[in-house]
């Protein structure tokens, strides 16, 4: 390559003059009417601004009020509690004189059902959104998008009803199969992934190595699944994995609740992700194609990074719905208290379901205890939000919105 002196002037070029491709708008009119001066803000203008700002502050006040009144109502009950609120697994707040209750089992159930739901729903939802926006022919994509929007609008109570009446009875076969043939799940795939990662990192450290660790990790996971499958066929001892069932029973389990939640959350995440992927500027997609990207590579270079913040917030919305979903979980889970890592056994409860089940026949302390558990749910969802925000903000300057 020839090395000539760099262009002398370009660096000092004024940034983005208009950007709208000159020629079309006559430049004279805008200057003749004069630029808007700050001093001339009229009364109406100021009023409008203040009204909108007031609404913003009211929203903050609402938020503060929610936190305040939950804390207020929770503290009495917490004061009466004779057990450790954070470590106790049982829930007996209504026994007069000796209320004992703890959040541990409920929180565990809430987090696990929501996690199962997200693990299933988010990848599938993103897949649906990608398929609709980048693979399906335009007309088909529009029609499918419409269907997904409609499904996202279906009230969650209906998914709950369906999950109860139709899905739960049909899940027993799958659950039995999983408990029989994937007994060591997820520990073997996880181990495989860790080994793969280690291998990839070692290879990267080598002077001639490639920097890709994705392939070894994938191979490790596949290997782990195969090992677990073989263990299952060989009837190896199995009370360590999350699919193992020492009691020999499967039923209305945390796993089923998670799947109901996943189906419920799926169209919501998919609908929002589709909206986000639709916004990806065609210019970025063309840039990727012009570099010789395959369709999938185009999606990885242009679509996914651009859509990431949107997908994260869509997932957060989904997570909020999954953690807070009350009715479906209340009906599916047997409302037992206790922490068990055997996700296929008929057991479990969540904070929201417990509130719905217990609110009617609680005394004052009991309701206070339920409010306290609600407060925990509130804090957990808030923490999740903060985490999501941090993820988005970390790369904010690289976000698509900047351009």
């Amino acid at each position: 390559m020839t090395t000539e002196p760099a262009a002398q002037t370009a660096g000092s070029a004024p940034s983005e003059p208009g950007g709208t491709g000159g020629g079309e708008s006559p430049p004279s009119t805008s200057t003749s009417t004069g630029p808007r001066s700050k001093a001339k803000v009229s009364f109406a203008d100021a009023t409008f601004k203040n009204v909108t700002r007031l609404c913003g502050f009211l929203l903050l006040a609402l938020m503060a009020a929610i936190a305040l009144f939950l804390v207020l109502k929770a503290t009495d009950a917490l004061g009466d509690n004779k057990a450790n609120f954070f470590t106790t697994e049982t829930w007996f707040p209504n026994e007069s004189g000796n209320p004992r209750f703890g959040i541990a089992a409920l929180l565990f159930g809430t987090v696990v059902t929501a996690a199962v739901a997200m693990i299933i729903a988010v990848p599938v939802a993103v897949g649906i959104a990608l398929y609709i926006t980048n693979y399906a022919p335009r007309r088909v994509g529009d029609a499918l998008g419409y269907i997904v929007d409609l499904l996202a609008a279906v009230p969650s109570v209906i998914y709950g009803l369906w999950g109860l009446a139709i899905l739960a009875p049909h899940m027993n076969g799958t659950q039995l199969w999983l408990s029989q043939y994937l007994p060591w799940f997820p520990w073997t795939p996880l181990g495989g992934a860790i080994l793969g990662l280690a291998f990839g990192l070692i290879r990267r450290a080598a002077p001639t190595g490639s920097s890709s660790v994705g392939t070894p990790i994938t191979l490790g996971v596949v290997l782990g699944v195969v090992v677990s499958l073989i263990a299952g066929i060989a009837d190896a001892p199995d009370d360590i994995g999350i699919f193992s069932t020492p009691s020999g029973q499967v039923g209305r389990s945390i796993f089923v609740a998670g799947i109901v939640l996943a189906i419920m959350v799926l169209p919501i995440v998919a609908a929002i992700s589709r909206e986000v992927f639709k916004q990806v500027p065609i210019a970025h997609k063309e840039a990727a194609f012009a570099l010789g990207a395959t369709r999938w590579e185009m999606i990885r270079t242009a679509v996914l990074p651009y859509g990431k913040p949107g997908v994260i917030s869509a997932s957060m919305l989904g997570l909020g719905r999954a953690m807070g979903e009350t009715i479906a979980v209340a009906l599916v889970l047997p409302a037992s208290f206790g922490i068990s890592v055997h996700f296929l056994e008929p057991a479990g409860n969540t904070i929201a379901a417990n509130i719905a089940n217990g609110f009617g026949d609680s005394n004052d302390t009991g309701r206070g205890a339920l409010i306290a558990s609600g407060l925990v749910l509130f804090i957990v969802t808030m923490l999740v939000n903060i985490a999501a925000r941090a993820i988005i903000a970390r790369r904010a300057e690289f976000s698509g919105a900047a351009s």
């Binding site: 262009a7 940034s15 570099l291 010789g292 690289f398």
Partner: protein
């Protein structure tokens, strides 16, 4: 390096609409060839058929041949992905990937092609950015977002990104139309420099630009809206701008229509 392009009997359709008809054109290697003509005459469309980018638009199709050193881009078994690897493209609006740093933008194409070695990537980044006359301005902030540069710098970043994969041909679709005059000048300097290594085809609305940067010029036009665009005249740039054979060419370059 650098490749000759032969366009033979090219028709382009958007669905049933025939956008371009019967284009025959031979583009010389290591030359700058400019496509000029009024809006809607199909010059950008023809440009996009040179690396099969028109296929990104649903319903677009092509008849005829485009030969790259004798090899038909539209022949059986030709993979558009491989074509675009050989024929790079720079667009009207600078379009660096907003989620990537300057460095990542330049190596985007290389990474797609499987180059992962850090040392090699580093070298290519410097070479490409120097090649695009941008190195001195950004060498201290390679980790900053590409979208944070000025418009002209962004466009040169896009050129650096395109040449990083060492294509044979560089297509430019009105690369300066969104830029101010100073940035435009920088890009034009760059084009003059790049033509020692690449076959360059540039679409431009700006006739001065065509006359400044190009060796050969193709003038496209159309009878009326709804009619397909056609190649009216193709010759050395000096010839087109001093003594064109066609009346329509003369009318256009002297500003009588379009």
């Amino acid at each position: 390096m650098a490749t000759r392009i032969d366009i033979q009997g090219l028709n382009v359709f958007y669905g049933k609409f025939k956008a371009v008809a019967g284009v025959n054109l031979a583009i010389e290697p290591k030359n700058v060839t400019a496509f000029i003509g009024p809006s809607g005459c199909g010059k950008s469309t023809v440009l996009r058929t040179l690396n099969r980018m028109h296929e990104v638009i649903p319903g677009a199709s092509v008849e005829g041949k485009v030969l790259l050193d004798g090899e038909d881009l539209y022949g059986a078994g030709v993979d558009p992905v491989n074509v675009r690897r050989q024929v790079g493209m720079v667009f009207q609006r600078p379009n660096p990937f907003p989620t990537m740093s300057i460095y990542e933008n330049v190596v985007a194409g290389l990474k797609l092609n499987g180059t992962r070695k850090k040392s090699l990537l580093d070298t290519r980044v410097e070479e490409s950015l120097r090649g695009a006359n941008l190195w001195e301005e950004v060498k201290d902030r390679l980790g900053r977002p590409g979208a944070g540069l000025s418009g002209g710098q962004q466009q040169r970043l896009c050129i650096a990104r395109a040449i990083a994969v060492e294509p044979q041909v560089l297509l430019m679709d009105e690369p300066c139309s969104a830029l101010d005059p100073i940035s435009t000048l920088a890009i034009e300097d760059l084009i003059a420099k790049l033509k020692s290594s690449y076959t360059i085809v540039i679409v431009t609305h700006n006739m001065q630009q065509a006359s400044r940067v190009s060796d050969a010029t193709a003038f496209f036009s159309l009878e009326a809206t709804g009619q397909p665009g056609k190649l009216i005249e193709y010759d050395k740039t000096t010839k087109i701008f001093t003594s064109p054979t066609e009346k329509r060419t003369e009318d256009y370059i002297s500003g009588r229509f379009g």
